[in-house]
Symmetry: C2
Subunit: 340 residues, 2 copies
DNA sequence: CCTAAGATTGTTATCCATAACAGTTTTCTC
DNA sequence: GAGAAAACTGTTATGGATAACAATCTTAGG
């Protein structure tokens, strides 16, 4: 237990005094300016070492206007994509010598605005919006116009500040896979309508079916939770004509699998199921889940790199940086049952 | 694309000038000091509103020595416990009016030390060590001695700065449940030896068996990943005498379930499996997983509250704040097969 | 009506590092 | 060896908010 008072460490002036130079010289040594004599530099370094001096970042930030801190806006939910994205951002930031300041927000426009302005207020150098909400970027544009910003929302429609996995392709890959197996059509358990990922996947699924000349069944909606997948699975399990289901996330897919199993539909013999995300557990469901792999961690890293270079060169033109996801075939998909 | 220069917002002096008062008065209004006339206060508020003035936190931090920022040290892994803990911390911090500055670290002592000193250097007001490593707290004590610190490591042996779920109880509950069902003994797939959670669970499992006078089988070790659970499951599945398994995390338990299923051992008829954590997906495994529930999100919140009050009253005595986990019985556990 | 106490507001110093500028010394060139 | 260029180092102003202190203005009591 530390009842002792927090003692302020030595300041630059203390180092300067001990080394017999001015504070400015210490600053120059610290910032690797060329115009310092080698002997002086060594002397200052020695004193810094001896006194255990560390530069005060707060003062630095005040005078330079740069905090070497990145702001990250995430949604207050705990799903796989959010957390691995956050991890990627952390790692990327560390590699780039930045610190991460994260705030969570709920869905509402005011909450978003508030969260972003809290970040700006905190003095971050740039912002990563890791909240894949429809129009999230638009809603806060009036705040972020003045500060480097990157979106990890994978909807390519959202403009040039985008980094992520191409969400349009994800659902196309999944739907095609099921059609290629011989299914007449594909049902879809979508995510919440206000999430851009969910919307992209929904649109791509629909478009793919149409392009293949198939009937487009009505979509069902979940909230990303396994429970919501389960509830929708209970409905789909009662419909004999359903032989193929695309679920908008692996977590919901687990719920769908469970519901189908409980109602006696065999996977993949009776019904094929495809998820999206390829979470760590996807290979260990029963049966192992065919899914679309997209590396959120990598996305986080790329977002940081993009943001950092934008901070360094604000004038430079930027282009979206979208990566294609890949199909991972496991055991939850097969050709439709013969009679169907 | 914002090529326009970042324009500094209005400063306190601008507000002061516009309101015809001194900067100090503005400061007093902002800080709710009593000695400001109501008319003055209203006038200042109006100008603040009109100019869209926001206080500069960097300057504030410099002069007060408080940044209203909490440092969080997490491990660079993406498992359920880590991410929900992080979420709880975020939410708690927001409620308390704090911002979160997070850094990740690997296992090594130097990485830990480095990460913590980065936080201190950043000027955080307090630190939450959310890295459940054996002796993590000890390793960084020389740095954290001077700054309020809280551990979310659930091993009650670690001293008074502890907040979390009592890890000792978790494994006891699980083991007892299996013994109560009639199993002769319980096998254990443990986590990595250097994680304190894993160590507590291992010890408690062992102790519980001994106290019940049962044979203690050799433990198996995983690395928290579903894959490692799968590998260990393949081993256990080949041993006919294994009828009950306690797995140190739900994620590994998914792997164990999968391996058992693949090798034809029925759950729970042939083998009972208990996990720990109660992740969202645990209710949707095949079969649904009996597990030990512990709310990491709640732990995160409590850690923040504790830390904030410690920051406010550094002198006050503190006591560990451990919460008991609960047993959630689902379908993966049953009495042992008759002949065993 | 005067003075002490209280309320309100302003002035100045401070936190720490850095940029801009200025001064001094060294080095080079013709 | 003078003059110019380069190298090195110091001084001062700056960023924005706040604490401590000082000053002014009210109000109440005698």
């Amino acid at each position: 237990m530390s009842t002792e008072q927090f003692t302020r460490g030595p300041a630059m002036r203390d180092v300067a005094a001990a080394a017999g130079v001015s504070a400015q010289t210490v600053s120059r040594v610290l910032n690797d300016h060329p115009n310092v004599q080698d002997s002086t530099r060594r002397r200052v370094m020695a004193v810094i070492e001896e006194l255990g001096y560390r530069r005060n970042n707060t003062a630095r930030a005040l005078v330079t206007g740069k905090s070497r801190t990145l702001g990250v806006l995430t949604l207050a939910t705990n799903n796989y994509s959010r957390s691995s994205l956050a991890l990627g951002i952390e790692l990327g930031a560390r590699e780039a010598g930045y610190t991460v300041n994260s705030v969570t927000s709920s869905l509402s426009a005011t909450a978003l605005t508030d969260a972003v302005s809290r970040l700006v207020h905190q003095g971050v150098d740039g912002i990563i919006i890791a909240a894949p909400l429809q129009d999230a970027a638009e809603q806060v544009r009036h705040i972020t116009a003045r500060i480097p910003t990157v979106n990890t929302d994978g909807s390519s429609s959202m403009g040039e500040r985008m980094v992520g996995v191409d969400q349009d392709i994800a659902a196309v890959l999944a739907t095609r896979h099921l059609l290629d197996l011989g299914h007449k059509t594909v049902w879809h358990v979508a995510g919440p309508a206000d999430w851009s990922d969910a919307a992209s996947r929904l649109n791509s699924w629909r478009r793919t079916l149409k392009e293949a000349g198939r009937e487009v069944p009505p979509e069902l909606h979940g909230d990303w939770s396994p429970e919501s997948g389960y509830r929708n699975g209970l409905i789909l399990a009662r419909m004999p004509e359903v032989t193929a289901i695309l679920v908008a996330s692996d977590e919901m897919a687990f719920g769908v699998l469970r519901a189908l199993t409980e109602l006696g539909r065999r996977i993949p013999e009776d019904v094929s199921v495809v998820g999206i995300d390829d979470i760590d557990l996807a290979a260990f469901s029963n049966p192992p889940l065919t899914t679309i792999r997209q590396s959120f961690e990598d996305t986080g890293r790329r977002a940081v790199h993009r943001l950092v270079s934008q901070i360094a060169h604000p004038e430079e033109a930027i282009a979206p940086d979208l990566v294609a996801p890949t199909l991972v075939i496991r055991s939850s998909t097969a050709p439709p049952p013969p009679g169907s």
